[in-house]
């Protein structure tokens, strides 16, 4: 977190998107995270995805908890409202914000300490409620701000920087999200921008609870031999089931299709996800299959990445609650208050 703003000037020839915004319009303050932190790469991917989607930056609400990852919303979309709430409670704050105004785009940014420990309950319940959001966990398996303790996503048997072996089982947030009914579930790696950017773009377009677990190595405390969340380890064990591109109606992205199967998934907002399958047998519409697939690969020490599950016909919490289309925060007394005549009737019924 910083109060150092980036200089306003920029090259006049910077490429602009459909709304006339450049990348700079999607940036925030200067990051104070450690040089080389995976989280900064995720920040860059969020910026890229929002730029590509031609989102109006101020129409995004970015909400986080506490921790290194939760600082990052200060570093992107500087013209958006941000909310750095309390440790692990981002999901409830986001849920409330979403209920108040269904017209904004909600980005929830959290960490593994935030979401898999103190906020595990809130993570679970926001997913099961189907809150329309993009919930990104910047997962480094370690508590960075308090200097190196294991988090609940640290793999059993992995070692801390001090050489201590983790004896607790790891929580796999992707497996949990699948089990809880998330309608868009993905995993990626902060060092794989070509995979992560379209995943974020697709998640934003998805109407429902989108969850992306991003392995994001902690350069200071969890990037050593023996760690299963280090850059080297993730690169060596990354098993991508697919690559994807997002095609929005306004400005289709040129796709360089690799050989293999391509599947197009159309979402509520009209955007299309072109899935280039790497694993020919993988079906991202099969929730149970995804769970089994994950478990099998985890047992082999492999980190499965890509779009693991999507339900293009998902409904969100507002649909479940049957709320009006007008944002609730825009309703005033004339439409909310039943008035004195009704109150007189109520009084009469209470005698």
């Amino acid at each position: 977190m910083t109060y150092i703003a980036k200089p306003k000037f920029h090259h006049p020839g910077l490429k602009k998107n459909e709304l006339g915004y450049t990348h700079r319009d999607y940036e925030g303050k200067i990051s104070t995270l450690c040089a080389g932190c995976g989280h900064d790469s995720i920040t860059a991917s969020i910026i890229e995805a929002c730029y590509e989607l031609s989102i109006e930056p101020h129409r995004v609400a970015k909400i986080s908890g506490i921790g290194c990852s939760s600082k990052t919303p200060d570093y992107f979309l500087g013209n958006s409202h941000g909310f750095n709430s309390v440790h692990g409670r981002m999901p409830s704050v986001l849920t409330g914000a979403n209920l108040a105004n269904r017209d904004l785009i909600y980005l929830g940014v959290s960490g593994d300490g935030d979401s898999a420990s103190i906020g595990f309950g809130q993570f679970a319940h926001s997913i099961r409620r189907g809150v329309n959001m993009t919930y990104i966990v910047e997962n480094n398996g370690v508590y960075g701000l308090t200097k190196g303790q294991f988090s609940a996503t640290a793999d059993r048997g992995s070692k801390s920087k001090k050489g201590v072996t983790n004896t607790d089982n790891a929580i796999d947030l992707v497996a949990i999200a699948l089990q809880l009914g998330a309608t868009f579930v993905a995993r990626s790696f902060s060092g794989d921008k070509s995979q992560l950017v379209p995943l974020i773009a697709a998640a934003i377009g998805h109407k429902g609870a989108s969850f992306i677990d991003v392995i994001s190595p902690c350069i200071a405390f969890n990037n050593h031999a023996g760690s299963t969340k280090s850059f080297d380890y993730v690169r060596e064990h990354n098993d991508a089931v697919n690559r994807l591109d997002v095609l929005v109606g306004r400005d289709p992205i040129a796709v360089d299709y690799a050989p293999g199967t391509v599947q197009v998934v159309e979402q509520h907002d009209g955007s299309k996800i072109a899935l280039r399958k790497i694993d020919a047998d993988y079906d991202p519409h099969d929730r149970l299959g995804a769970q089994t697939f994950l478990a099998k690969h985890a047992a082999k020490g492999q980190i499965v990445t890509g779009l693991l599950y999507v339900d293009p016909d998902a409904e969100d919490l507002h649909a479940h609650l049957n709320t009006v289309e007008t944002p609730l925060n825009a309703l005033e007394a004339d439409t909310l208050c039943p008035g004195s005549a009704v109150l007189d009737k109520i009084n009469a019924s209470l005698r």
Partner: protein, 615 residues
């Protein structure tokens, strides 16, 4: 045989029903209270129930009060003893000369009765067994049968009870006729076999007027509807659950778009209290009116977020229906014991606005006002009810609403204002009242966005750990709290007939007992000015009241005299001048208790010094 003259009283007595939880008696007992109301006689009922679903003792007490005293009185004139488990205690609780009504189907030894009361036996089980074959029917109709017998014993008009049954079972003819039949079974048996009426009688009167009969929780929920709350996030906890349930019910009636059928509200049962207040804060941050309802243990869980709401200046409304603590305490018993916990909730230096309604009418008004206050002050507002108001029906003045009233959305900078070039600093004290402007997310493409955080920041919401910046912000928050003094409901003062140097301060559900106690104290020769506090921060008139009196009694329902502590803390007054009068056994405080405690203290103060007496 009674050796004490039976109590004789018209429209002024206490009936207590001793039942077993889950026996279906609640409906009949409440109908008894309502029937007396239909006679034009005020009643003040209280539900005394265990933290259990079935099997444990439960009581329902109806104070019949021609004079309109709505506090608990203490003592029982007529005990309807339907629970063998509590028989001895119930019999012991009857006032000398009182009446005991019981099921006489099985004979009981004489040692189980008292000589100074009148015993009235009705073979309820025998009557039900000879009339009904279904065990559940036998149980349920037994309650209506004793209601019928009581109607004869107290000389009540059966048509008024039939009318109530008709309203309750409207459209359910079978239930209606069978309940009326049961009522007359009991009534006829009593008329034929007992001396009716007894010394206690209900006579038609006109003392109810246009008052309504409503529970505080339901009124508060209605206040939330009228106050424009669109989002409620809650987690079930006694005694607050009925707030959210009533809000749900009211919203279903009054908050659906007539054309689309869609809801102009969102209600979420959170996974816990932490999530509930988090949802409220997120919604309020985004410009919607949101609230949660909880009780003491829930407040404990919410305190982290309450600190955030205070420091980050986000509106929130919390309805705290207090119960006996600490810890799980007595979940179904009343107290006013969260005063300190709420006034200073969360770590660090915090102060929160508390509202203390005295009855359902004020619960309605203050609930609606809480949303205006929350948005005006951009902070958490606590509506401090307790079980005694929240879960009991109270007679109160009709609820009122001014159709010209608009919601006070507080200082919100719009896109137009930003376009005009107004300087926007999220924590700038533009008007000197400590209240800054805020913007809703999504307001303007390039202006007015800011980062909300619980960490320190400067006036422009930029993160800062500078000590002077932090202190500047904390001082502004104090200014804001001072501003709140004149925005919250003011205390109400009533002076004694003669000038006096003694005063009494009280608040919330203590109010009706206090009103009655003043009369008892005057009869004992004590004059007291009284001040009913309706909110924290305290208005300057509280300090004036303290300055004008040598001794001020502070009457409250908790062990540690928490309101007194708060007054001492906030006014810097010598604690010796504030005399605590506390009651905290979980039952509502009574006029008798207050009058005795204050009266005894006053008598002590009035002791003439020996030197003066002998000179």
């Amino acid at each position: 045989m009674s050796d004490k003259k039976p109590i004789s009283s018209v429209n002024d007595f206490v009936v207590r029903f001793a039942n077993v939880n889950g026996s279906g008696s609640a409906s009949a007992n409440e109908m008894f209270a309502r029937a007396i109301l239909r006679h034009g006689v005020p009643v003040s009922p209280r539900n005394i129930f265990p933290s259990n679903i079935q099997g444990l003792p439960t009581w329902y007490e109806v104070r019949v009060t021609e004079d309109g005293h709505l506090g608990a009185r203490g003592g029982v004139d007529l005990m309807v003893a339907m629970n063998p488990q509590t028989w001895d205690k119930d019999v012991a609780g009857i006032e000398p000369g009182g009446y005991l009504f019981y099921d006489s189907t099985k004979p009981m030894p004489s040692t189980k009765f008292r000589d100074d009361i009148t015993v009235i036996g009705v073979p309820l089980t025998a009557i039900t067994n000879s009339t009904y074959t279904d065990p559940r029917q036998r149980q349920l109709f037994k309650n209506i049968i004793y209601l019928g017998a009581l109607s004869a014993l107290l000389e009540m008009d059966p048509k008024l009870i039939e009318q109530l049954i008709g309203e309750q079972y409207k459209g359910k003819e079978k239930l209606l006729s069978s309940n009326v039949h049961a009522l007359h079974l009991g009534r006829d048996w009593a008329l034929q076999n007992l001396k009716c009426p007894i010394g206690l009688r209900v006579k038609k009167s006109d003392k109810v007027g246009d008052r309504i009969f409503i529970e505080g929780n339901s009124a508060a929920a209605l206040g939330a509807v009228y106050g424009g709350a669109t989002i409620c996030a809650w987690y079930p906890i006694t005694p607050s659950s009925s707030v959210a349930e009533a809000f749900t019910s009211h919203c279903k009636k009054y908050r659906h778009d007539p054309e689309t059928g869609k809801a102009k509200y969102a209600i979420v049962q959170g996974e816990d209290e932490l999530a509930s207040i988090g949802i409220v804060i997120g919604a309020s941050w985004n410009g919607a009116r949101a609230f949660t309802a909880t009780s003491g243990p829930g407040i404990s869980l919410m305190t982290e977020f309450i600190g955030l709401s205070y420091f980050a200046e986000i509106p929130a409304v919390i309805m705290n229906i207090q119960r006996a603590g600490p810890s799980t305490g007595m979940p179904t018993r009343t107290q006013q014991c969260d005063i300190i916990a709420c006034a200073y909730a969360s770590h660090g230096d915090t102060k929160h606005v508390l509202l203390f309604p005295e009855d359902p009418a004020e619960a309605f008004e203050f609930a609606a006002a809480a949303f205006d206050l929350a948005e005006r002050l951009q902070t958490t507002i606590f509506l401090m009810l307790d079980l005694d108001i929240g879960m009991n029906h109270r007679l109160c003045r009709p609820l009122k609403w001014d159709d010209a009233r608009q919601y006070d959305r507080g200082k919100v900078m719009t896109a137009e204002m930003l376009e005009e070039g107004r300087d926007f600093g999220r924590y700038l004290d533009v008007d000197g009242d400590g209240i800054p402007y805020r913007t809703y997310p999504g307001t303007h493409p390039t202006k007015g966005s800011f980062f909300t955080r619980g960490t320190s920041r400067d006036r422009y919401a930029r993160y800062s750990e500078e000590g002077t910046v932090y202190a500047d912000n904390m001082q502004r928050l104090v200014r804001k709290f001072e501003t709140a003094q004149d925005l919250v409901p003011r205390p109400l003062q009533a002076n004694a007939e003669r000038p006096t140097k003694y005063g009494v301060i009280y608040f919330g559900s203590t109010s009706p007992a206090m009103d009655e106690a003043i009369g008892l104290l005057e009869a004992r020769g004590h004059q007291l000015d009284r001040l009913r506090i309706r909110a924290f921060p305290f208005h300057s008139s509280v300090a004036s009241f303290l300055a004008e009196h040598d001794f001020v009694y502070v009457v409250e329902q908790n062990r540690d005299s928490q309101l007194r502590q708060l007054i001492v803390n906030e006014n810097g007054i010598d604690p010796v001048r504030l005399v605590p009068i506390v009651h905290y056994d979980g039952t509502p405080i009574t006029a008798r208790y207050i009058a005795k405690a204050i009266g005894d203290h006053q008598d002590h103060l009035k002791v003439t010094p020996l030197r003066k007496a002998v000179s």
